[in-house]
Subunit: 339 residues, 2 copies
DNA sequence: CTGAAAGCGCTTACAG
DNA sequence: CTGAAAGCGCTTACAG
């Protein structure tokens, strides 16, 4: 009668089901959650009532009452980047069959967004949390501090070795590609990056260390821009780098989108790749191998990262302690035609 | 004392906050949700307690008590397809500032997944629902039937005109590109598609109608495969089509990934595009314009779709009736070099 | 401006 | 195998 009652008219509750099945609320509850602990007759009556009323259980109420949750929050910086899509898909493939539901939050590489999402998602009491990388604002860190369920970090490896994480050394990957480029004889190797998220900067640091080690480091050959990565931006970065430093003989791009753009631009400019200019990328997206020349890049196993992180979280949520706190999935430098 | 109590030790509740602030539970509640209706002194004490205890409100409890929800469920078939990523991003941009949170579900083009997601998400009592297209299983339709909050359908337009939807006529888009190809003088135009979701089939139907109208329809030139779209598959479809029907002078691909693959393959085979074979795609992904030859394709405004659908949902959730139930955002045939 | 009580829809020990 | 009661964390009318 009160306006609160009105909702019951709109959607059936468990107590409607119980009434319709002629049993108590809690028998109805049990028939649904532990069907084997209930008589066949009761179970059938309840199921019939569920069907007749179109009953859909109220997850939030269930979670609240049971002090459990089937929600997993995963926070990634971007969905436009295929790397994270692959990771999320893999996570979903292991967590969904286990009865969990994913809440996917996209921070767009903004620390404030990251914090906002963390706050919003933790307010849902997720059973587990998957975050990308270790860097976050103090406020975000504080929010995380009050969270008591398992957390697994994606993409990066903790130095501290006291956090659960699945990833690879971004610095090492940046270093490895730079080393290869030097081995191939390139001397004036530029590094071009956008977005400037922590992983990009770690790769840049890897590049820097190797270039310094070879006494070839020149800060002017580093082009870092906070803009969003895109094919068009890659083309633009190529233009800028070559205009200012025609001596450049190779460019190592922070990701494949940028490198693809550079390859397209080189073609427009009739620049011979890799003879005049070598181009390398990062991630090995599907298009990389198909380009002409085929793109030299670093292959990352994000599917593996998602899968292993999902499994680690699963075992943590079961209260087990996983064999390893930190899983290094590695990476692979793939030399193709462009460098 | 009981094991139930233990949770309170782990995370602060509103009643902990109230105790710490020396006020009633409901004053604390009010201080948080309607800060202006509370004295400055009280507000400050409550805020201090919140901070000190690291209190995070329990969204599920709030939603349950208030019979409201800040959750919006959106169900899309894929995240690997940039089209849906763009759509979701746009939706998020309008709904998030309004205080809503997105639950993103990916059905992988499987009706059973679609149904499962619908069931799982509706169990969270979302304030609104965004779904992709109209086709779904009977079971899914039944689940939807019990849902009483607003629903807006993305991508397609309803014939019935009794549903809320934002999209464009996929059939018309397929027809328009086919017409253009005929105008350009191509005669043996093949249609190649993967995934075979409803929208793909509608585009195929558009192609069919136009080809029939021109008395050029040949069922053998339609290559439909349920496989997942990818660049590699596009290359493969080109091979198959040309092997069986060398007379083909143009291929209209169901999406850009496929068309890109065909362009790459054509280059490997030294096939002149468009002289020997014209290639057209669908969606106008970023790479399309950069290819060589640049890809002829159909530009779809998924950002617009997401934005308008989000706005429509917003006004429906406010109880308003939006000016239009059905918004046609159209499409644009973009003729470039490949056809 | 502030508070006591009831209730959101469900589950969990505890009895029988 | 089944049920009455209490409680999950919060908000909502209703009083004062």
């Amino acid at each position: 009668m009160s306006s609160r009652r009105r909702r019951s008219l709109e959607r059936a509750t468990l107590s409607d089901v119980a009434r319709s099945a002629g049993c108590s609320l809690m028998s109805a509850s049990r028939a649904l959650s532990q069907p084997e602990r209930v008589s066949d007759a009761l179970r059938e009556r309840v199921m019939a009532a569920v069907k007749a009323l179109g009953y859909v259980p109220h997850t939030a109420a269930r979670n609240l009452a049971s002090a459990r949750s089937n929600l997993i929050a995963v926070i990634i910086p971007s969905l436009s980047n295929a790397v994270f899509v692959d990771t999320v898909e893999a996570i979903q493939r292991v967590l969904m069959p286990a009865g969990y539901e994913l809440m996917i939050g996209v921070s767009h590489y903004h620390p404030e967004e990251d914090e906002r999402l963390l706050r919003a998602y933790l307010a849902h009491q997720p059973a587990g949390l998957l975050v990308t990388g270790f860097e976050r604002s103090d406020a975000a860190r504080e929010v995380l501090g009050s969270y008591t369920s398992p957390i697994v970090t994606l993409m990066e490896l903790s130095d501290a070795d006291e956090e659960y994480c699945v990833g690879f050394s971004q610095l090492e990957a940046g270093a490895a590609m730079t080393r290869k480029l030097l081995e191939r004889g390139y001397r004036n190797i530029a590094f071009a990056a956008a977005q400037l998220d922590p992983r990009t900067l770690q790769r840049a640091e890897g590049y820097r260390q190797v270039m310094r080690g070879a006494s070839r480091y020149d800060a002017a050959l580093e082009l870092l821009t906070p803009q969003v990565s895109s094919i068009g931006l890659g083309a633009e970065l190529l233009d800028r780098l070559l205009a200012q430093h025609p001596e450049i003989d190779a460019i190592f791009f922070n990701n494949d989108d940028l490198a693809l753009g550079a390859l397209f631009r080189a073609r427009q400019l009739n620049l011979a790749v890799p003879e005049r200019l070598a181009v390398a990328g990062f991630n090995d997206l599907p298009a990389a191998a198909w380009m002409h020349p085929a793109l030299t890049t670093v292959r990352t196993t994000r599917g593996e990262i998602g899968k292993l992180a999902g499994q680690m979280l699963l075992s943590l949520m079961r209260g087990e302690s996983p064999p390893q706190r930190r899983i290094d999935v590695g990476f692979e430098v793939v030399m193709r035609e462009s460098a």
